[in-house]
Amino acid sequence: MSASDLARLRQGAYRLIGAGFAPPQPDRSELIVGSIPVLADLGLFDYSFSLYLVDYARALAADDPGELAPAYMALFEVGAGGAACSPAESAWLAGPNSSEVAVILSDLRRSYLRYGLRPSDSRSESIDHATVEFDVMASLCGIEAEQRAAGRPVTRTVGHQIEFLDNHLGRWLPLLTKAVVRHNGHPTYTALALAAHALVIHDQELLALIDEQEPSSP
C-alpha cells in the first residue's frame, strides 16, 4: 500500500464516521455500509480500527431505519436539560460561561481558515459538530493524499492533522464516547462512538510515527 493510499483510506474512514454522526437517512446508511468494501480495497484491515468500523457498519446494516431517527434524537439532540450526549466540541470543552463557547468556535474558525477550509453554506450543523470535525480531518487527509500522489511535500498538512486532533477532536471525543457508552442508548450509536474513538486514537499514534519520519515542524 502506498502512503497516498493510506491517506485516502484515512480520508474515507473519517468521512464514514462523520456521516454516522449526521441525522440518519436511509440513503446515508446504505452509503456508509457500502463504503466498507471500498475502504477494504485501500487496506482497511491492515489497521486495528477496522474492527470497530466494521462493527458499526454491521450494526447499521441490521438496523430498522425507522428506529434510528428517534434513537439519534434521544441521544444527540433532545433530552431534559439538553442532549444526553451532544456531539459538539463546545458541549464538552466549554464551561457554563457562554463566552467560552464563542472562544472555541472562533478558534475552530481560525483553524479551518488556516487549513484552507470553509464549512459549506448548505451545512446545518454547527462548526464544532462531530460531523463537521470528522469532515475536516477527512479533507486534510484528502489534501495529503493528493500531495503525496503528486510528489509534493506533506509536512504542513500532516502538521495540521496532528494539531487538529491534539487541540480539538482528540480532546473531546473520548468524553463523548464514554458518555455514549454509559448512556447505552442504542447499539448502533454505541458502535459508532467506539469506532470514532478507535479511529482517532489510532490516527494520533500513526501521525506521531509519520511525523517522526517526516517532521512537520522544524
Binding site: 487496506g43 486495528s48 467506539l194 506521531a208 510515527l209
Partner: protein, 473 residues
C-alpha cells in the same frame, strides 16, 4: 469454540480441539478466508519464523477477529507429537483467557522485518498489546508510583496523585504490569490469568516432567529443545522471581528465561533479569529445592527432573511471590526458611521507636495495607510481611527517614509470614487537659519540643497539654 489452524506441513495433533489444516497458510495468510460458525477463538500454528505478521493481522481482522487475541505459535523445529500437542494446548488456553482489548491497548509497531523508517514504504504496521491503567484500581492517589519508577523508557509520568502514560514512547515491555502492586496496569496480551492458563495447559498436556522457558517476544527464533516448552512474554525483564518460580510450583520440572538477543536486552534489562534469576535461585535454595531448577544458563546443563507433587489454587497475580513461595514451601513441607533478596518485591519493614514520631504517614501511603495504623489511647502501627511488595513508598513518605525511623529489607522469612500481622510501633497519645481530645503522638510532641528548644518552653508546654482547638482559648 476454539479453532486451530495449521499449515499443512504439520502433523495433526490430538488436542481435543477443532483442528483444520490449511495448505500454504504460512505463505498466504489470506488462505484464512473464513471460520466455522461459532468460532470465538483462533490459534494458528506456523512453521516459518519469518511469516508476514502484518498480513496475518490483516487477514484476521478480515474475518472479524482481533489479532491481539489470536494465538500464533511457531511450531518450527518441534518434531515430537507430545511437544506439538502441548504447545497448541498452551496456546489455546492462553487465547481463551484473552480478556479483549480496548483501542487504547493496541499499539502500532513496524510490520514485518522492516525498520521504523519503513512505516509508509513497506509492510503495514502491526498491532501489539500495550498497557492501560485502570484508574479505579490504581493507588497513585495514595502516592504509589511503582510503575513510574520501574518503566525503562519513561513512558509513565507521576503527576502528583495520578499517573499519565505516553503510548508513543512505551515499548510494551510489560515491566509496569508485573511491578504494579495492585494489578491496575493491564496489557491484554500478557495477563496473569492467561499466562497461568498457558503454563497449566503446557504442563498438563505434556504429561511428563517438562521445563518452561519464558521467551522474549523479540528473540529471533524459538529454540525448541526436547523437554522444554516456550511461553512468550514481551520482555524477559518483566519477569519477577514469582514468575520464574510459578512453573515449579505448578508442577513443572524447571524454569528458564531466554532474553532476546546475543548482545543483550536492548532496553538494558540484563541486570534486572540476572538479579531476578539470582533471587529465584536463592529462594529455591533456602526452601531446600534444587536451585538449578531456575536459571538462564540451565538449558544445556540441567536435565529436568520431576518436581514434588504440585497443589492447586491460583497463584499468578499481584503480590504472587508470597503465594508461590508458600506453595513451594508446602510442597517440600518446610516452614522455616529465609533469605535476603536483591530485587524481588518481598519486603520486611522495621521501625525504630527512638526516631519514629508515629505520624502514621507510612501506613497511610502503603498501597497494599501491609502497614496499617489504628488510633485508640495509643497509636498502633502494625505490619504484615505477607502483603508487603517492597514498593518503598513508606520510605519515600517518612519525614524522619534521614534519622533512620523506617527501614526496609528485601527478604522473605517463612516464620515471619506464619506469625502474620505484628505490631511494629506503639505510641501513647496524650489528651487535651481542657477538652479531653487526643493531641498528637507523644513521640511527635517530644520531637517538636526538642526542636523548639528551651527558649520556647511556654509554647512547648501549651503544645503538650492542649489540642489544636483549645490552644487559642
Amino acid at each position: 469454540m476454539t479453532q486451530i489452524l495449521l499449515c499443512s506441513d504439520h502433523q495433526t495433533p490430538a488436542v481435543g480441539q477443532h483442528v483444520r489444516v490449511v495448505g500454504g497458510l504460512c505463505y498466504d495468510p489470506y488462505a484464512l478466508a473464513s471460520l466455522p460458525d461459532g468460532t470465538q477463538h483462533l490459534v494458528i500454528g506456523l512453521h516459518r519464523d519469518d511469516a508476514d505478521k502484518s498480513m496475518f493481522q490483516s487477514s484476521m481482522r478480515r474475518i472479524g477477529l482481533d489479532p491481539l487475541g489470536v494465538g500464533v505459535v511457531d511450531l518450527n523445529g518441534i518434531t515430537d507429537q507430545r511437544a506439538l500437542t502441548a504447545t497448541l494446548a498452551g496456546a489455546v488456553a492462553r487465547t481463551e483467557a484473552f480478556p479483549g482489548a480496548t483501542p487504547e491497548q493496541a499499539k502500532l509497531a513496524p510490520g514485518g522485518r522492516v525498520s521504523r523508517r519503513g512505516l509508509l514504504s513497506a509492510a503495514a504496521p502491526i498491532s501489539i498489546g500495550a498497557p492501560s491503567i485502570d484508574t479505579e484500581t490504581c493507588v497513585a492517589d495514595q502516592g504509589c508510583r511503582a510503575c513510574v519508577t520501574a518503566c525503562p523508557v519513561d513512558a509513565l509520568t507521576w503527576n502528583g496523585g495520578s499517573v499519565s502514560y505516553d503510548k508513543t514512547i512505551c515499548v510494551a515491555c510489560g515491566i509496569c504490569v508485573t511491578t504494579c502492586p495492585v494489578g491496575a496496569v493491564v496489557n491484554p496480551t500478557v495477563t496473569f490469568q492467561a499466562i497461568e492458563a498457558q503454563i497449566a495447559a503446557l504442563i498438563g498436556a505434556y504429561g511428563e516432567p517438562v521445563g518452561i522457558r519464558y521467551q522474549c517476544r523479540g528473540a529471533p527464533q524459538a529454540r525448541h529443545q526436547e523437554g522444554w516448552l516456550n511461553v512468550e512474554v514481551p520482555c524477559t525483564g518483566m519477569l519477577t522471581a514469582g514468575w520464574l518460580l510459578a512453573p515449579p510450583a505448578m508442577g513443572a520440572a524447571a524454569t528458564d528465561a531466554i532474553p532476546c538477543g546475543e548482545s543483550g536486552c536492548p532496553l538494558g534489562n540484563d541486570d534486572r533479569i540476572a538479579s531476578t534469576v539470582a533471587d529465584a535461585r536463592a529462594i529455591l535454595e533456602a526452601l531446600g529445592w534444587d536451585k538449578d531448577r531456575v536459571g538462564r544458563d540451565s538449558v544445556a546443563s540441567f536435565a529436568p527432573q520431576p518436581p514434588p507433587s504440585a497443589t492447586g489454587g491460583r497463584i499468578f497475580g499481584p503480590g504472587m511471590e508470597h503465594r508461590v513461595i508458600s506453595r513451594l514451601a508446602s510442597m517440600v513441607q518446610t516452614d522455616s526458611a529465609a533469605a535476603s533478596l536483591e530485587s524481588t518485591p518481598l519486603g520486611t519493614v522495621a521501625i525504630d521507636p527512638a526516631t519514629c514520631t508515629a505520624c502514621r504517614m507510612c501506613a497511610q501511603i502503603c498501597p497494599t495495607d501491609a502497614l496499617h495504623s489504628s488510633v485508640t489511647d495509643d497509636i498502633v502501627i502494625d505490619f504484615d510481611p505477607r502483603l508487603c511488595v517492597a514498593c518503598g513508598q513508606c520510605l519515600n513518605m517518612c519525614p524522619e527517614i534521614d534519622r533512620g525511623a523506617i527501614t526496609m529489607s528485601m527478604r522473605f522469612d517463612l516464620a515471619a509470614w506464619a506469625r502474620g500481622r505484628m505490631e511494629v510501633r506503639r505510641d501513647p497519645v496524650p489528651r487535651c487537659e481542657s477538652c479531653g481530645k487526643p493531641i498528637a503522638p507523644s513521640a511527635m510532641l517530644e520531637r517538636i519540643t526538642s526542636m523548639l528548644g528551651p527558649e520556647y518552653s511556654a509554647t512547648a508546654a501549651l503544645l503538650n497539654t492542649r489540642c489544636l482547638d483549645c490552644r487559642g482559648r
